[in-house]
């Protein structure tokens, strides 16, 4: 190849140009890329990070609550999944550890717990603005995570990738957090909620004395106590149970004998979402009454149930535009009775009763905190412990409907998810915790949601009266915590 001799000027000019160009280029950075999102270190160094983290934890509580409520309601006899979205297997109930929802609920619970721990260990220590009440609240939310783990699961790891610990240990952790929160807090209303939460955890553990004493303390402090879970209509999370109860396709259809309680969470427009009464004084009465019945104190138990009835009757009943809830109008999988003259029977051979199915109008009256079909006369007529226990569990079911409580009352527990088994070396496939607990007295194959409906005669006869089934099996270890 020929060599080309560069002119002398070029020999001088080229390096000069190179320097100039290099300088110019160094001021342009086409490869600079900045992440517009906040890294964790950036966040921890911002002022008032603790308050933002607490709100994030509250928000996570709502997200987890949505997941817990919707799925456990499906598992129970409360609702039939009349649409094709939401988990179909849970409705049967058929709960396998491979089910994505078993994983997602477990993840949501762990995330709430982890948010509490990270807030206490990493965020709060750097933020001087954090108050004792903030500390109490985040302890409370972490306690709720343990409460759900203890109420819903066979067992779960208590720390990331830890060994599986049984449900009782989770409830004990919940109680410890709630107690610490109550000790720290100066907020009276918050302290009451911690008290009721302690009673609830002790109830499930079967600690009758503690449960009853805490429940009694709550009723002394505030006999009409409610701690609502309040959602965000605009940016979410919204109340997902409200969504499935009020959508035009009637995703969740209540068992016809519970129709009068629906929709518990009415659609209130675009800026307001119905809250969920996460903790309410009714629970204290139910705990105390169940304690009395387990002590064979029928008279006091009936008195307690009557007090409970008074409280329930005092709760809000609202006129709801329920025209979209014409059962079966949206062509679901099963047709439901949808007129006020329909009669329901709680089980084959039981009497046909009026008043359980509502006419769906623009002003349907529905209880939005607590409601029950049980009357003072029924309570007065209860002649045996079993009769009273039946009424108590019917009231528990009706009062707590759409709050995600029934699955635990039925003695059903979810297994540790397969995802956990695969990714967590401290767990073992084939262990008992990989199987759900579904007591043998629970009907499968949609039996709990089953009923026969005669559209001409307008009669709906339930296949099973699950509260009768529970009472008949009350000695089973999975149910009736107070033995």
């Amino acid at each position: 190849m020929r060599r080309h001799n560069l002119p002398r000027a070029m020999r001088l000019l080229a390096p000069t140009l190179a320097v100039i160009i290099a300088g110019a280029c160094s001021n342009f950075h086409p490869t600079d890329v900045k992440n517009p999102n906040l890294t964790d270190q950036q966040f921890l160094n911002t002022p008032a990070a603790g308050a933002a983290w607490l709100r994030g934890t509250q928000r996570q509580f709502l997200t987890t609550l949505n997941s817990v409520v919707q799925n456990s309601e499906l598992v129970s006899d409360n609702y039939f999944n009349n649409y094709t979205t939401n988990n179909q297997q849970f409705d049967a109930p058929n709960i396998l550890y491979i089910d994505p929802e078993v994983t997602s609920i477990q993840n949501a619970i762990a995330r709430l717990r982890y948010m509490g721990t990270f807030g206490l260990d990493s965020v709060y220590p750097r933020d001087p603005l954090v108050t004792v009440n903030d500390r109490a609240e985040i302890l409370y939310y972490r306690g709720v995570a343990s409460l759900w783990a203890g109420e819903m699961y066979v067992g779960l790891p208590a720390v990331a990738n830890g060994e599986v610990v049984d449900w009782k240990t989770h409830l004990a952790s919940a109680i410890a957090d709630f107690q610490q929160a109550r000790t720290l807090s100066t907020d009276v209303a918050a302290k009451n909620s911690y008290t009721l939460a302690i009673a609830r955890a002790n109830y499930r553990l079967g600690n009758k004395t503690l449960a009853v004493s805490e429940a009694t303390a709550l009723l002394v402090a505030n006999p009409t106590f409610i701690r609502n879970a309040t959602f965000d209509a605009v940016n979410g999370p919204s109340n997902s149970m409200q969504g499935v109860l009020t959508s035009s396709v009637n995703n969740f259809q209540p068992l016809p004998r519970l129709d009068f309680l629906d929709p518990k969470y009415p659609n209130r427009g675009t800026t307001v979402v119905s809250p969920i009464a996460f903790l309410k004084a009714e629970e204290a009465h139910l705990i105390i009454a169940e304690g009395l019945l387990s002590d064979n104190n029928l008279v006091s138990a009936k008195d307690r149930l009557t007090q409970l009835l008074t409280l329930v009757k005092s709760r809000t009943v609202e006129a709801v535009d329920s025209r979209l809830q014409l059962r079966g109008r949206a062509g679901g999988k099963t047709n439901y009775p949808n007129t006020a003259d329909s009669k329901v029977s709680f089980a084959v051979g039981s009497p046909l009763l009026d008043g359980f199915v509502l006419a769906r109008t623009a002003t349907t009256m529905v209880p939005t905190v607590s409601g029950t079909s049980v009357t003072a006369a029924q309570i007065a007529a209860a002649a045996t412990i079993d009769d009273a226990q039946y009424l108590l569990y019917l009231m528990r079911q009706e009062i707590f409907i759409a709050e995600g409580r029934r699955m635990a009352d039925l003695g059903i527990r979810m297994p540790v998810a397969q995802t956990e088994i695969i990714a967590n070396a401290n767990t073992k496939d084939g262990a008992t915790y990989t199987l759900a607990v579904i007591p043998s007295f629970i009907p499968t194959a949609f039996g709990m949601d089953g009923f026969t409906y005669d559209a001409t005669a307008k009669t709906a006869i339930m296949k099973f009266d699950m509260n009768r089934v529970l009472v008949a099996n009350k000695t089973a270890s999975q149910i009736f915590p107070f033995k």
Binding site: L17, A22, S26, N37, A52, S104, N161, K333, T419
Partner: protein, 979 residues
């Protein structure tokens, strides 16, 4: 996180490469002129390359508009002139040049289907003959593109890329498709190839955007807007495609799925040549797969399509130009489906000094398209309501073919209102510019710099009025506060810069070495905004005055930059060795990940040039044979910002709420796909039969998995490089020309590809879904030992009486990816003016799940009793309940997705000059039918199986038949006048 590159060094390197230009001495000699034409039609061929060797270097020129060329300063003597043109056989001829005089040499070129001598550039760092390349390169010529009635690029490629599979997964205009070659190399990234136009990287998003309109329920699983759909289709000169592997190594971390490069027309020297083209026709629905006859009249129509294009090109020896524009208005097959598009493109070329050339192009286009509810949007979704029996939910008898006149009229009114009141529109606007400077500082060195920008803006807007909600029975009459407006805007800006040089050296007459070096950078900024309003008064189209408004935004930014080098060493063009390497960095890599190295090596043995072979078989029988083998690595970079650990701030009751964002991954790196390929190219009987036989085997390591964490961590999914995916298959293609007489020419082509895809390792992560619905219905899964996206659900086993004996939950039900696929076609030329052509594609060995069929059963449509054995339905615990059984027999809803689809039939005629007015130079008239015939093994259209990528840029393999319409059948008459 910020990452920086030693950018100034690149600047200096470019400067150094370009600064070498020095004037060369002109040589005295003669001139060769002539005209290049098609040997059958006699039509002039612009853009052909005419070259002759002068002092071991090429002297070349390109033919102008009229096929004319001029080679100047050719030394006197007997000269061999070579003429090359994509799609035609190379021709050489000898001419005697006398100093100071002009010699004439006219050349007529013959069409050549498997063109080994074509010069390609994509993936090579510079121009190089296909003969010297060890990997597959497909070229779609201008002739093929102009003759195609395709409205969008992927539609064009359906039958023109023999090794690719392209499926339009929804008939709605402007929606995503599935494009893939050589299987699926990633479960986190989409298989759509990277697309360049004139060297500038384009937006190739062929999935949903993260913020986007939802008219499909599970949003991705339906008609989502695709950036591929609005790539400008006019004025394309040719398309080059290289599949992932050694061919794409020089593209580094961006090219595991292959690279598709579009070259636009630059104009050729000559007097201004204008054209005007009219396309007029109509779309009609493919109704063969409809369950009900009534569906056709309720939502479909024969919709007219008109498109007008015009252009001009020309220039002088030193300056060329090309300008074109088009406008289209289409009613489409859907009632209320009117859509419009327009665009224009310009290009100029100019000599810069006597060693340089500038080429610039610019394009702009807009589309405006409606979108209809589909997939599992629920509520009123026309095809679900009509075809899947859901009309019962709205108070109709769902056997819609047997309605009495009153009910039929009521249904028609209901459907028409619902269709009319849907107001979902997609508006796109994009421009692209490419600026390229070529310098040949020495006869042996060619250098170039290319830079350009692509900007694509899309706006999706869904207006849901109270009137619509009341009409579709979602809210009661009198509702005024449920209207909503949802806007989604995405702005993609891609900047591309490339500088490179190619050096050609010959050592004696035997050894030649072509080496290239270069640097490339691209940067993508993808900014998305969502702003929505609820409680909107009907008629309002802006957010002003709405009861509640909300907004959010996000940004993805990534820069990728690297250097490459390649050497192609050939001994007499018999034995060629290719060696190449690319070093790459990317801002999406984790902090602990350094520059990535992608090597390649290729070997070519041109057996046809061996004397010993020629002694055995004459060229008359075995015209050419070539054996090739290559190994190369290409990558796929992770989603931007997935490397950083973040805290997410959410708006919550008017305040900030902080939570864990993504866990982050400091070790994040690209997926690396190593591909080994071997092949033989054969031609027989003087190219009457040409064949390409190939086999590839690829292994993707460090595959990115968006794997679920163990739930006890409470974390969200984080992508990590822990997977391994294998693909292998045969790639066979053949072209046969059984008849080639002056009056008739018949050419047949076919391709056959096989595909074995398997996930080899998941690195300890549990199986996860990349598509589908709930676990209790069907999901597309990623699991070790199975193909990507296989269908999983309940598999019921029946005994001889039809009773269910066992149900395997979460079982394998099939796989959407076929085992075999390909295309075929025929072209018949009668005389020199008439051509009849047909193209088709097919697939075998895949499966698709049909929700439409399942729902028909669930909703008790007449004639569906046999879908599930009666004995199974009767047995406990189902006891006659379709609701209880339909999800336990998901295997019954899965069908074979085999199909053979004739895509186009086109008759093309060049009208003789004597019939034309004096102003027109030529006229071409063609009539084509698209989708005239489809055979399918399934009860539904197996092509329309949703794109199913759940995330932006995510993997998609399809597999669901769910309330989505097929592509239309179109009849189009095209008249093209040349002036």
């Amino acid at each position: 996180m910020e990452q920086r590159f030693r950018w100034p060094l690149v600047c200096i390197a470019v400067l150094a490469a370009l600064g070498q230009a020095t004037p060369a001495l002109a040589q005295a000699g003669g001139t060769i002129v002539g005209k290049v034409t098609d040997d059958r039609s006699g039509v002039a061929l612009p853009g052909a390359q005419i070259s002759t060797m002068v002092d071991t270097k090429d002297r070349s020129a390109r033919s102008d508009q009229d096929g004319q060329y001029r080679l100047i300063d050719v030394p006197a003597g007997s000269r061999t002139v070579t003429v090359r043109m994509i799609g035609y056989a190379v021709k050489t001829a000898t001419v005697t040049v006398v100093a100071g005089q002009t010699a004439t040499l006219n050349v007529a070129l013959a069409v050549r289907p498997l063109d080994l001598d074509a010069v390609v550039v994509t993936g090579q760092g510079g121009e190089i003959s296909k003969r010297r390349i060890a990997t597959t390169v497909d070229v779609v010529s201008r002739e093929v593109i102009e003759a195609s009635p395709a409205k969008r690029l992927d539609e064009l490629l359906q039958t023109t890329l023999p090794g690719a599979q392209v499926r339009m997964t929804s008939g709605q205009v402007g929606t995503t498709s599935i494009m893939r070659t050589r299987g699926v190399t990633s479960v986190s990234n989409n298989s759509t190839p990277v697309i360049y136009v004139d060297g500038v990287r384009m937006d190739n998003l062929n999935t949903i955007a993260t913020l986007g309109m939802n008219v499909s329920g599970v949003r991705a699983q339906g008609a989502a807007t695709s950036a591929i759909a609005d790539l400008p289709m006019d004025n394309i000169d040719r398309v080059e495609f290289i599949p992932g592997g050694a061919a794409t190594t020089l593209y580094g971390s961006d090219a595991a799925n292959g690279v598709l490069q579009i070259f636009t027309k630059r104009g050729a020297a000559g007097a201004p040549k204008m054209y005007f083209e009219v396309r007029d026709g109509y779309d009609t629905p493919q109704t063969q797969f409809n369950f009900f006859k009534a569906t056709k009249d309720l939502i479909y129509r024969n919709g007219r399509t008109q498109q007008y294009s015009a252009g001009v090109e020309g220039g002088t020896n030193g300056f060329t130009y090309s300008l074109s524009g088009n406008v289209r208005a289409s009613e489409t097959q859907r009632v209320y489906g009117d859509n419009t598009a327009f665009g224009f493109r310009s290009a100029v070329g100019a000599n810069v000094g006597n060693k340089g050339k500038y080429q610039g192009s610019f394009s702009y286009n807009e589309t405006d398209t409606p979108r209809f509810r589909n997939g599992n949007a629920g509520g009123y979704t026309s095809l679900w309501v009509l075809e899947a029996g859901r009309s019962s939910a709205f108070g109709f008898n769902n056997n819609i073919d047997s309605l009495n006149a009153t009910d039929a009229a009521a249904l028609k009114t209901f459907v028409n209102n619902a269709e009319r009141l849907q107001n979902n529109r997609v508006f796109t606007r994009s421009f692209q510019t490419s600026q390229r400077l070529d310098f040949d500082p020495f006869p042996s060195v060619k250098a170039h710099v290319t830079f350009g920008v692509n900007n694509r803006f899309s706006k999706e807007r869904a207006i849901v009025t109270n009137e619509f909600l009341i009409a579709t029975k979602a809210y009661p009459a009198g509702t005024t506060d449920r209207g909503s407006i949802s806007n989604y805007e995405r702005s993609f800006t891609g900047f591309t810069f490339e500088a490179g040089a190619q050096h050609t050296a010959s050592f004696g007459n035997d050894l030649s070495v072509i080496s290239s070096v270069g640097t490339q950078l691209f940067r993508n900024d993808d900014v998305q905004v969502q702003y929505t309003a609820t409680n909107v008064r009907d008629g309002q189209e802006t957010l002003a005055g709405a009861g509640v408004t909300a907004s959010t935004d996000l940004a993805y930014r990534v820069a990728n930059y690297g250097i490459y080098g390649q050497s192609n060493i050939s001994w007499r063009e018999k034995y060629t060795v290719e060696l190449g390497v690319r070093l790459d960095k990317n801002t999406a890599f984790g902090a602990n990940t350094g520059a990535q190295t992608y090597p390649k090596v290729g070997l070519v043995w041109a057996l046809g040039n061996e004397d010993w072979l020629r002694k055995l078989i004459s060229e008359k029988y075995l015209s050419d044979v070539r054996v090739r083998a290559a190994y190369g690595v290409a990558g796929q970079f992770p989603q931007p910002f997935a490397n950083d650990r973040t805290v997410a701030i959410n708006s919550f009751n008017g305040q900030q709420a902080a939570t864990f964002g993504q866990p982050g991954n400091r070790n994040l790196k690209p997926e690396r796909t190593g591909t080994t390929e071997v092949g033989v190219d054969l031609s027989f009987l003087q190219e009457r039969i040409t064949m390409g036989l190939g086999y590839y085997s690829s292994r993707t390591v460090d595959a990115l998995l968006n794997a679920p964490p163990s739930p006890s961590t409470g974390e969200v999914s984080q992508i990590t490089n822990v997977g391994e995916i294998a693909n292998n298959g045969l790639e066979l293609r053949a072209t046969v020309t059984p008849i080639n007489t002056p009056n008739f020419r018949l050419s047949l082509n076919a391709s056959y590809n096989t595909l074995n895809n398997k996930v080899m390792k998941l690195g300890g992560t549990p199986p996860f879904a990349i598509s589908g619905y709930g676990a209790s219905t069907v999901q597309g899964m990623v699991q070790e030992g199975y193909p990507v996206g296989f269908l999983r659900g309940a598999n019921a086993i029946f005994d001889a009486t039809g009773k269910i004996t066992e149900i395997k939950q979460l079982a394998y039900l099939g796989k959407p990816m076929p085992d075999k696929f390909g295309s075929f076609g025929a072209q018949l030329g009668i005389g020199s003016r008439f051509t009849l052509s047909m193209s088709a594609d097919y697939q075998f060995g895949g499966q698709t799940q049909s929700f439409d069929r399942a729902f028909r059963y669930l909703y008790g449509v007449a004639g569906t009793d046999g879908y599930v054995p009666a004995a199974a339905l009767a047995q406990a615990p189902y006891n006659g309940s379709r609701a209880a059984i339909w999800q336990q027999v998901m295997n019954l809803w899965v069908e074979k997705s085999d199909y053979v689809s004739v895509r186009t039939i086109t008759a093309d005629y060049r009208v003789p000059g004597k019939f034309l007015p004096s102003v027109a130079k030529d006229m071409r008239m063609s009539f084509s039918v698209t989708n005239p015939y489809r055979w399918a093994a399934s009860s539904f259209d197996p092509e329309t199986d949703l794109s199913s990528a759940l995330t932006q840029g995510g993997a998609a393999v399809g597999g669901y038949n769910y309330a989505t319409e097929s592509s239309p059948r179109s009849f189009i008459l095209t008249l093209r006048f040349g002036f």
